[in-house]
Amino acid sequence: MANGLAVRQRRDVWRLTAIDPWHPTLLWYSKAVQVMQTRRYTDPTGWLYQAGIHDYASQVTPPPKPGDPLPSSSEQKRFWRRCQHGSWFFLPWHRMYLFDFERIVAAAVTALGGPADWSLPYWNYSDVANPNGRLLPPAFIEPNLPDGTPNSLRVEKRDYTATGNVDVSAADVDLSCLEDTVFAGAGNGATGGFGGQITGFSHNGSGPGGLERTPHGTVHGSVGGFMGRFETAGLDPIFWLHHANIDRLWEVWRQRSPLTHTDPSEAAWLNATGTTFEFHDENGTIVQWLPRQVATTTASPLNYTYEDVSDPLPAKVAAVSGGIAITMKNASGSTPMPMPLAELVGATGAPLPMRPEITTVEVPLRAPSGPARIADALDVTRPARRVFLNLENITGQGDPTNYSVYLNIPPGQSPAQHEELFVGSMPTFGVTEASNIQHPHGGSGLTHVLDITAVVDRLAAQGDWDAGKVRVSFLPRKPLKPGAQVQVGRVSVYYRSE
């Protein structure tokens, strides 16, 4: 109990499935979704309304029916298309969104005669102990419930087979983001940290954190269909289990190193200065949340735990991925010092369209002349430095796929032979929206930053690193669908002295 209220537990959907493919949690979820789907478009507790909070576009979401109009324009502006991406608000905003959605589903479950403590399960696709972990659970595939009525957890718009295989690869669910010691990265050529870059309201900003890129963005892209776009993602019932897992991974990150893995302490984050996050509760009443109110799940008002928040990574000292800290202490240990600046050392001069097979580009590099002067990547004996690969202004349309990114694949050879040269994933979840200037904050495309230090270090140690150029290869993980296209506006490399 916390503050007199029962603490609910969000459970692993595959563990529930192991008990019973139609475990009551899943059965009641399906029935509650069905009830929500019958509610009017204007009902804040309805299925379509809830999906619209994440994003909405008239071209791709179900049209209003006769006698069931859309919410008014002013209401849409206030409550819809509010999802936070590419931002340090990504995690707290989605936690608020999930919490109110869970309350709405739980109320529907109770009204149907189900248990009073219904909680949203999570989809732990990164569980290496579960060979089925990356498959969709059967409850999301079966056309009917055990009583023969239609199963509302199944949606046709997914890229899956009859076994629930949505081609989620091991790279899609990689959890190396948990090694990042910084919540909010500096950006500006360096990574966005674990939780995203410092921004204001950011519908599809350019500073995603490691967790938002992988597994969040990559799983969205792999499941595809509704899940492949901001505007429709909330229409797939698996979306909510996916985000429950992302929310759980935030807790995993905090608990694997409580002293160093801490949330931002800046008032701008705690109070979401300059913006307002509003939702509706199970009664349709407007509720307003601040990130500081949702930072702790086990206390009021959230009052929930996760079944498993153990560290999924092999035991080791957490490596530094995105930087050592957003601020460091100086020699006297008193004044916080800002993180060193990253410096551009090379970039492509023209946009790079992605081909159906592998796409390779050579990036000319120059010796740094600014703050990264001492970070010459060729000389491994120099003081610590980090190397970042920026994939800037990624634009496209259609249902694009995720890409695996490699460095210096020898000409004529396949990336499959060189997994040691894999530096990360480039998800394209949301690329259509981010490319569209009509979309809130759209027009610039997506930007992803990969920390490639480890691979560069290895290449340098082997004598295979050329300080004058680097080849970057992109391999689509799934064939592109007809009409889908993606281009990377610029591929650039930044150095940063540590």
């Binding site: 050529g189 300059g274 551009l344 001069g349 800037e392 200037i437 759209g442 027009g443 610029r490």
Partner: protein, 242 residues
């Protein structure tokens, strides 16, 4: 101390754009026309000296736009610097700002000409001011303004070296400048109508900066309310003066 200063300027490459803006603000009292401040306006007053184009008009416009618009570019200037090689970053900023200010100079030619033409039809400042305040209030709430503001937040790839690098900064500056004109043209009518009154320029600057920093619609609704309120105040004042 020197190291701290160097670090500060490295982290804030937009410093000299803001310095230029500050210098321009210093010149503004010289170009403001106190005789046309609201307190001294009368309903029968005509702005006869503005009927013909003058070089000082061009200078005044450049000073006004430099003062008021460069602070709005701070985020874009930072993007230009971050996306440029270290030894090219200030050159890149210069090309970007040159293109950006050029957009506003061209816009100024049209806006000033339109004003002169309007004044030539014997419309007085006291009539023009509430009209421009009303236009600015309405424009704040339009979807065109919202779209233009979105364009102001855009980033784009910049070539790293050679003439392509310079050209991509110029192109980015033109795109930002044209988006900024669509976003702020109506606001800029207000200081024009009131003959570069310092108070009006400061007020417009505050509205433009707030709208640029926040992504939601609240500041625009507040700005529209303030502008509409100012319009009503002017109308009441005119009525009181008979």
């Amino acid at each position: 101390m020197i190291a701290h200063c160097r670090d500060f300027f490295a982290r804030n490459p937009q410093w000299w754009a803001l310095l230029l803006s500050a210098c321009a603000w210093i010149t503004l009292p010289a170009i403001a026309h106190p005789a046309h401040e609201m307190s001294s306006m009368s309903g029968s007053e005509h702005v006869s000296h503005a009927l013909t184009p003058r070089w000082s008009d061009a200078f005044n416009w450049i000073a006004m736009t430099t003062a008021m618009m460069l602070p709005l570019t701070a985020s874009s200037v930072q993007t230009v610097a971050i996306r440029s090689l270290w030894n090219r970053r200030h050159r890149a900023i210069a090309f970007f700002l040159l293109a950006y200010v050029t957009c506003w100079v061209i816009a100024g030619l049209f806006l000033n000409a339109a004003f002169r033409a309007t004044l030539h039809t014997a419309v007085s400042t006291i009539v023009l001011l509430p009209i421009t305040l009303g236009i600015a209030a309405v424009w704040e709430l339009t979807s065109l303004k919202e779209l233009a503001l979105r364009r102001c937040h855009r980033t784009e790839p910049l070539a790293p070296v050679g003439w392509r690098a310079d050209w991509s900064c110029i192109r980015f500056g033109f795109r930002q400048g044209s988006a900024c004109i669509v976003s702020c043209w109506a606001l800029m009518l207000v200081p024009l109508a009131i003959q570069h009154s310092l108070a009006s320029m400061a007020g417009v600057e505050l509205i433009a900066l707030t709208g640029r920093c926040r992504a939601d619609r609240k500041p625009h609704m507040i700005a529209a309310g303030l502008l509409a309120g100012a319009m009503l105040a002017v109308l009441v004042k005119v009525r009181a003066q008979g």
